[in-house]
Symmetry: none
Subunit: 206 residues, 4 copies
DNA sequence: TATGAATGAGTCTTCATTCAT
DNA sequence: TATGAATGAAGACTCATTCAT
């Protein structure tokens, strides 16, 4: 009488997530998910009925993670540039273990209108809060004459762009799976983190 | 009297390109390619033998385009900031009709080591030339005290990041296929183009 | 309530064997195997993955049968000519239900070096034992002056040749599937059996 | 203006023959025939319309060859055993370059009733003549008390069996395409030829 | 829950054959 | 005659899904 633990479902979700991210929806086989999860193929369907449905579950998990993760980065109330630096760095560091999140969004979410809408609906309230806060900060700094007048939305997009793209570039320029490149990769990413902070801050400073 | 042949191969390549970009390798069916190209399914295999091979042909076309397109953007010898602005804008404008290129690279090229290597080998010489030129320009400006000391490589990555991400964001935030959004989309992109130029230039200026 | 499973695999193997023997590898369709076995086409692949693999399974079965069957015929220790007669007749009778074995070997095994080698490796030890025994017998008889000095290997080949060819000739000369020929066929084969015994024995006797 | 010689048809027939013999009907592709013949694939169909038809042409050539070849071997009127020896040896030697003929008959002719009938209709008159002659010779020798009373048909089948099987065995036991085995193969075949003559003659002598 | 077996609907690929030139 | 292009029919194989146990 095996004690197959009660979270077979969780294991399936995790394996599915990593495969969907790595290979996309069409490129992922339910048999492979089951095999890697160490469970019977039919069981996957017992839990999730269809591949499509499993994908949706995975998607919601990721959407939740992504939004939650973003929200963390821009809180607190230190001096503006300190806070900005910290936010950029936190975002960057968060991506180290979560680069698949934006990749997943690019690869799989964009196409399906419904998924996109769902994702945006999750994202909006969080983004709004961050934007509102940033908008207030910028306004204040502009008044003080320390920051150029810019839209908070653009600053946020700039941060996301520089940070995310740093990892994408790393993926293209290095064989990230080859452990031998670990050193060079680390140097590259550190350099980029520094650059991103400087680029954003210098572009704002007056 | 149909106008057969002549460029059936070209048509197949174009349809294949758009489908591979839109749906990825696994998600694209050769039957659909053939159907959209208006030719018999077997003919696709007559010309390209396998789906894999067809994909490689598409890939090479895209790699060539991508590299060629990048190289255009940073030549000439106007004053530094003028040139920089022009380069950023050219790159941005180039992406308008080619946003699928970077998406394709993210989605399909990254995974296969060989394809990545092939792509990088195409990219390197062009990138090197651009970098060399930019490096010289920056050095001169730094000496004049008009520009902060930065690595040309980082400037290039920053431009790419801001520009490409602008289109990715547009894709996520707007339903780009819905003609009704055309106006808002245009406004958004113009705003981003302006922002990208300003962000880069302001981050460099001393 | 169907009696499913249990030996679907066996049924597939048997159907496959008879079709591969009858039509050769290329001439046999997996769809037909499945149809005749009364199972879904995909199931064939579920059990054997590929046609090639199914063929190999069939081949090993046949190689095993063939070798086992040959080994039976030449044991015991009656007087030499009695034993010889019995061996020839046993071999002949064994072929009645197994004529497809040599046919299969001729048709499908010969070409593929690996299969041939596998088959020979199965065959050799058995053949060696029979040859050794026959060689001893002949040596003894030659000393007694009752048998011409001949190589045991040649005697064995002669037996195989006469017996197998009798069935091949029957196949060519008669429509073996037409039940109406059954009588004539039986007469022919009996005559050949008699002939083969006599031919071998008379060719040896001194 | 190429001078594609007028016997494209012949070349196709020869290539087709060797491929059909080597790989069987189903295993042979018309594209390969055309390729090896150095002609356009469509041209094959221009000359022979269908694969089936091409096969029939090849078949008739082979049937003709086979029959003609067999007829040669048993003519003349030297003393009986001399003639018999010569016939066996001629038949054996004839097989050296024609071993594919009996293989082809086994593999491809047996199955199709019509082909078999056609083949037998070709074979019968020739075989009849040889049998009649052999029958007369044997009758005479039996009367003289030099030969056992046997059916000419059985003698003929015995010869065919021993000779043909010698080559089949060679094919199985040696890698006949490997030139390194040429020596051993030759020794084997010479030994078999000798054996076949002796076996037949000794089995008949009184 | 869990599993082996079964199935239908595809998907890629091959191949004989035809057609326009 | 000769050829490149085109096509229909089929074949091997895959895969998500279901079912009986």
């Amino acid at each position: 009488m095996e004690v197959k633990n009660q979270n077979t479902e969780q294991i399936l979700l995790e394996v599915a997530e990593s495969l969907f991210i790595e290979k996309g929806f069409a490129g992922t086989k339910t048999t492979e998910i089951a095999r890697l999860a160490g469970v019977n193929h039919a069981l996957l369907h017992y839990y999730f009925r269809t591949k499509e449905n499993l994908f949706n579950c995975v998607f919601e998990r990721i959407a939740a993670q992504m939004v939650g993760f973003i929200s963390i980065a821009f809180e607190g109330d230190a001096p503006f540039f300190d806070k900005l630096q910290r936010a950029i760095e936190m975002h960057f560091d968060g991506l180290v273990t979560r680069i698949n999140l934006p990749m997943f969004v690019f690869r799989e979410v964009i196409r399906q209108k419904e998924r996109k809408d769902y994702f945006l609906n999750q994202l909006f309230p969080v983004a709004k809060r961050v934007l509102a806060r940033m908008h207030g900060d910028i306004k204040r700094e502009v008044k003080k004459g320390t920051v150029r007048p810019v839209k908070a939305q653009n600053v946020l997009l700039n941060i996301a762009a520089l940070n995310v793209f740093s990892f994408v570039a790393a993926e293209i320029l290095f064989d990230t799976k080859d452990k031998q490149n670990a050193g060079a990769l680390k140097v590259f990413l550190n350099d980029r983190k520094q650059n991103n902070v400087n680029t954003i801050i210098n572009s704002l400073k007056l």
